[in-house]
Symmetry: C2
Subunit: 237 residues, 2 copies
């Protein structure tokens, strides 16, 4: 049987052999939720970069730009890190350069995988469908918070493992723990994450609406994936 595993932090990715694997990168609050939302509203390309200045420089090359550091948006960028900001007309056909505290780091460190998908609760069934059609093993790479594991990304991993139960074997203890964590929280994810340090950090920024939105399951049916350095969607996957 194919195996599914979870890397709880980008700082642990050296422990995993990405070759031949399909990687699902997740940063629920809020990078990958924003990316899925942007594609669902017509974005043509998203270029994730790790550096704020590099991201800004893409503005002169026809890209819209989006930046987040520590939950906030530096001045001079087109978009912040709220999924609601991407539900606008000018997203249609746009190329967007994005940098965030955690999500873009997780993406850049996953590039050696055979496939890199972008996952969120918003498109979780679409991700599960892609993994069902994938012949190899799968690894969920959680963005976490500055290297530390976080609750919401772990819950997403547990939910995806739960969906694929019977088709993928749980590879290791971290995956087993994520699955258990999801099982005890699945009835009410919002309540489950309310004690989380990251959510409290975000609630301090006044984004209650974003939190609830990012926990919605299957609002969108798009699957962003990495092609060279950029994310696109391809309905044939």
């Amino acid at each position: 049987m194919k195996k599914i595993d979870i890397c709880l932090s980008p700082d642990l990715i050296h422990l995993y052999d990405l070759k031949g694997q399909a990687v699902v990168v997740v940063d629920i609050f809020r990078a990958t939720s924003c990316m899925v939302t942007a594609f669902a509203h017509g974005a043509a390309e998203i270029l994730p970069v790790e550096d704020v200045d590099l991201c800004a420089s893409y503005g002169a090359q026809g890209y819209l730009t989006a930046a987040e550091r520590n939950g906030l948006t530096p001045a001079g960028f087109d978009f912040d890190n709220s999924p609601f900001s991407y539900q606008v007309d000018r997203i249609k056909g746009a190329k967007i350069c994005v940098t965030t505290t955690n999500g873009t780091v997780a993406l850049r460190r996953s590039v050696t995988a055979s496939k890199v998908f972008v996952g969120a609760f918003l498109n979780i069934s679409r991700v599960a469908e892609a993994l069902r059609h994938w012949e190899g093993d799968a690894l969920i790479v959680c963005a976490g918070w500055k290297g530390k594991p976080n609750l919401e990304d772990t819950l997403f991993a547990g939910a995806l493992i739960d969906m694929l139960h019977g088709e993928f074997a749980v590879a290791d203890d971290a995956a087993l723990m994520a699955w258990k964590q999801y099982n005890v929280a699945s009835n009410d994810l919002l309540t489950a994450v309310k004690n989380s340090s990251h959510v409290n950090r975000l609630l301090g920024l006044g984004i209650e609406k974003d939190i609830a939105f990012c926990l919605e399951m299957d609002r969108y049916n798009v699957l962003p994936y990495l092609v060279n350095d950029a994310l696109r969607i391809d309905e044939t996957i």
Copy 2:
């Protein structure tokens, strides 16, 4: 309120500022369970080292030697990594040099903390008591398995957090998740760990008896702690 946190793997320890903290190093299967058992049966000192050859060389300096790699004991050492091996008369007053796959790595990486205690289910209440008397924050450092988080060390962390609830605040999501993981497993730890990859690895080595023993709570009332490079016990802590 004082804070308690968990570092799920020695490979994440760079994310934590150990200064001023009391660190509890845990490697349930089986390094720290063995250490606690050895002190409970009269050992005078345990010197943890990372290298097998270095460990062997201490045999010529009056130390008994103990080694484990991948769950097995290389030839030429006095002790393996079973807690039952340390319940013998010759342990009394002995100095023991120890090297293991995970536990000694976690110990060596924790040396910059203000206090380094050795924890196991076998002495968990004694560890909790020491932390109650400690004025600063606390960090539980899980040995894991070759850098990856494991279930049994996480469950120990959750149990300790549970014991200290009301006296220590949960610092971060990893600690919150460990606590939750313990709460759903606490009625029957043995069954909970039976699905764990590490336990399956160990069961393949025929050490069912060790597994059950290492999950016993409060069999011993000793608290090993690091003094310079070596572990000792001190009833005045």
